[in-house]
Symmetry: C2
């Protein structure tokens, strides 16, 4: 039998270690084995706790909290399959470098491999999708073991926060009785200061980059996972070099409020259609490839004509093209700022002007398109982008939703922050992640743009909005099924193969879902109505579902029409 | 680029291998990378396919199909987090020995570790919770590789079906283009016959058991995971030896329609309360410990007074008590039948009679209890047990629901099959597993007994009922929160700690849930009304939710009243 007071001291000291390394939030799922840690976290003044019964939603919610706060977030659950429900969010967190501190509780050694209830092997439960797995010692109250508990809490949290950031899993074997002693002071006092260095290049290496880039015909290609503030620095770099900049929507280049002509927000539409007379001498990529497949194919086609630079602090070599000639492993922002300061020669306008023209022609063509003036999934997505308030937060789902934004949205004067789950691009956990984002800044405008299948996949997450009064506006693009497949090769299939396996209509009445979770519900009937609804949201955030009824075929037809007309217009300009 | 025809032949041959080893059903979640396998499974006449977008529900549904059909079931999904959603059901399948054939599809080697979208490390994704992980070769069309594909399909499925049964994970790297050639014949013809031996004891070993057991004061203790047919054989063994039999609800002893006085269905209530004058000389356990904690404590208290036999074909030593003196690793049913045939000496009635009296006193006390005549969670659970049709199927959720049945239900004349997820006892995936059970025998009465938190956790599973017209009757015990904790040590906590972390009310209107998924809905207002509803279900199965509004405190009060009165009555009898 574990001494109640020793267990309490041990676990409380562990919590204090996590606090020392920056933990401020925890998401707890109810259970019995996790009782002492749940109570200690809940009672801890320095930690804000959230409760969610469905561990899958809980973990994605923690991911959203971490994304919007840039802080490590704790997850806690009981033993058994509860923890396995965390797995999708953990895989996403590992791929997209988010620091989750995953605490699972477990039977002690004497109750393992003996058929004890709610017990399973939790060692390395999340396989290679966490940075570390740590089996904690059975709680003891000696100074040695309290030092150890503090150290693990502090060190594991810091490890999660080091580049490349990512989740850490700690497994706690706990003996009964499980009730802690709640009389102990729950104010964390011990702290360990961490002065964390960042990767920097030498002066000589920087000068070599500047010499290799300035005055050359170049392109900046910026991947996702950047804040609006970081995006502004990239745009400044583009302007300093006079290079066009192609980016992922989640790079926040088109949402940071800087409307530079060098921003090639419609590259996906035109890049494979134009006749390239001049090729880039240099491509400088930052992080993962942007979502645009056409950009990827175009980069691939450059082959040896161009010198490829790949800037990536993580050193993970996530370069799908395998074309990197110079890999730069450095903290991006300071590096980019230094380059800006050193560049003296702009590239000639003839290089950037052709790109600016292509972007302008595309923007103009989109503006003239009659379909953009009536309500459909594409126009609705664009309108959401345009109606985001300054400092607002938009979460965009995977599959079609992010592609609508990527292809059609242009830089506007509003500056807001766009989020998404682009580590592994799943359609799972989207609502919960968006609610995590919303919980960090609930006073701002918070919007989620999502399709019906992703909405269905994570409906349980809506309970968090109800429980914590999270004023998220959900713009639901409902085409009753898997709209993305109508854009892929699967569309060649006969209907009897396509509909049941890829179309997968779910026929859900989402007004009932809204009612179930106490959300307001409106079905948008026109683009004008949607505009008014979104404008209201800017000032009066509320938990609501705005449904836009779409059509899978219509989306494809609109895209094909755009491409056909655009080809024509681009040909005229050349 | 993979040759389309080679890829088709390779994957089709793999599917034929699985069919040879008994695969008849597959559950597919939509995705792009999985396209060729999805289409081949869907087109295969010998395989019935189901589609479910939420992979977590899909996997539990497959588990239910496997439970009710005693057949291996295929799961298929695309790459990335999709597969991670399978994890909870896989952990449960591994712990409860269900043969799932889990097929994940993956990027080919050249697109791994390079940041390709929807790609993550899928090697050993389910860690130690599958019997085998197999990385398949890239599809090729040579005879060698077709033989290999067939072999893996046949062999992996057979491996999943060998004792101890369990899930197998095969990961398929697939290159584009992903559309298969659907002109190929999709009738599986090649087969491999498997003559599978079973573990048997020698004649001498059997005689030693018979000699050690017959005429001795003994107890049979039967764990879960047995069919009604198997249960009858255990009861026959009890009657042959004249021993009382204590069992888990999922042993189906109390549901198999044999009402023997030796069945100690209320052991959990009386076993710690009676004064034992005679101790058992022999305890023979089959499989896992029953759910009853009081039975466990009682067995533990026997220590050296009793010789403990532990019959377990798996050889996994899942004996939490660690008291086994003789471990018998043998196929249960044939072994039990042989013992029955050889036993010649019955144990004296004075041994069994005291047990029969205790059971009778308890049954009588329960019958007299006024609370059993009005509607509450306990009485509703008992009524479900009594109103199950012959050959019906009842799925019981974990946490409180199965405990109500365990404590209070007695053997009746109806014989039906009771199912549950008692590998790791999670409250996740219950609805989907029950729907899998229902899909195997939809013409029978199919009932699910579930609490509100488990219902919420797997609400997405209800889409399967809607899509496939599965006539499941859900009896929802709604006490608005985690009712189990009111029975555990956590109830000592102050309300401000208890309610948010353990009580966790979710305040959902389940009539809306019924409406969302096209289920009928009734709120039961009386025990009589519930009886009528359940009787109708016997003849006219329908997809419906019958809500029983419960109260967490009331459940505890009822239990405490039973225990208090029972103590008194048992004392009078001694």
């Amino acid at each position: 039998m574990t001494n109640q007071s020793d267990m309490t001291n041990y676990l409380q000291t562990f919590v204090e270690g996590m606090i020392s390394s920056g933990v401020e939030q925890a998401v707890i799922s109810p259970g019995s084995r996790s009782t002492p840690l749940a109570l200690l976290l809940h009672r801890q003044e320095q930690i804000k706790t959230f409760i969610e019964v469905d561990e899958r939603s809980a973990a994605f919610f923690a991911l959203g909290l971490s994304k919007a706060s840039s802080k490590p977030v704790v997850l806690l659950c009981t033993s058994g399959t509860a923890a396995a429900n965390y797995y999708p969010a953990i895989c996403e967190a590992y791929a997209s470098h988010m620091p989750l501190i995953v605490l699972t509780t477990d039977r002690p050694h004497e109750l393992r491999q003996v058929g004890a209830p709610q017990a399973m092997d939790q060692f390395h439960l999340f396989q290679g999708h966490v940075k570390e797995f740590i089996e904690m010692a059975i709680p003891e109250g000696t100074k040695t073991m309290l030092d150890y508990a503090y150290w693990q809490g502090m060190r594991a949290t810091d490890t999660a926060c080091q580049v490349p950031k990512g989740p850490i899993h700690l497994n706690f074997p706990l003996r009964e009785p499980l009730l802690p002693n709640l009389d102990r002071s729950l104010i964390a006092e011990k702290t360990t200061a961490i002065l964390a260095g960042k990767k920097q290049l030498s002066k000589e290496q920087i000068i070599n980059c500047v010499d290799a880039w300035q005055g050359k015909k170049g392109i900046l290609v910026v991947g996702g996972n950047h804040t609006s503030e970081e995006a502004e620095v990239f745009i400044k770099l583009a302007e300093t070099l006079n290079w066009p900049i192609i980016s992922d929507p989640l790079a926040n280049i088109t949402t940071c409020g800087k409307n530079s002509p060098l921003i090639m927000s419609c590259a996906d539409l035109f890049i494979q259609e134009v006749e390239m007379i001049q090729y880039p001498e240099v491509v400088v990529r930052f992080g993962m490839l942007p979502i645009s497949k056409n950009t990827m194919f175009w980069l691939q086609s450059l082959e040896d004509k161009t010198t490829m630079y790949f800037v990536d602090e993580t050193g993970e070599w996530q370069d799908q093209l395998k074309q990197t000639q110079v890999a730069i492993q450095v903290e991006e922002q300071a590096f980019v700022q230094t380059i800006i300061d050193k560049v003296e020669i702009k590239t000639v306008d003839s290089w950037s002007n052709q790109w600016i023209t292509w972007q302008e022609v595309t923007e103009q063509q989109l503006n003239e398109l009659s379909e953009m003036k009536t309500l459909n999934e594409t126009s609705a997505s664009l309108l959401v982008h345009k109606k985001m308030a300054d400092n607002g937060q938009l979460f965009v789902s995977n599959s079609n939703a992010i592609r609508f934004l990527d292809r059609f949205s242009t830089a506007e004067s509003n500056h807001y922050q766009l989020f998404g789950n682009r580590g592994i691009n799943g359609i799972d956990g989207i609502i919960s992640t968006a609610l995590g984002m919303c919980a960090i800044n609930p006073e701002r405008q918070n919007v989620l743009l999502i399709g019906d299948l992703a909405m269905y996949h994570d409906m349980n997450g809506l309970l968090l909005a109800k429980r914590y009064n999270l004023p998220l506006t959900i713009v639901l693009l409902n085409n009753n099924g898997g709209g993305i497949f109508s854009f892929l090769s699967q569309r060649q299939l006969a209907a009897e193969d396509f509909e049941p396996i890829f179309g997968t209509p779910i026929d859900l009445d989402f007004s009932l879902v809204a009612q179930l979770y106490d959300a307001n519900y409106v079905k948008a009937e026109s683009l004008e109505q949607l505009a008014v609804l979104l404008e209201t949201t800017q000032k009066q955030p509320a938990f609501q579902i705005i449904e836009v009824v779409g059509d899978r075929q219509e989306n494809v037809q609109l895209y094909e029409k755009v491409m056909m007309e655009l080809k024509e217009k681009l040909r005229e300009k050349q």
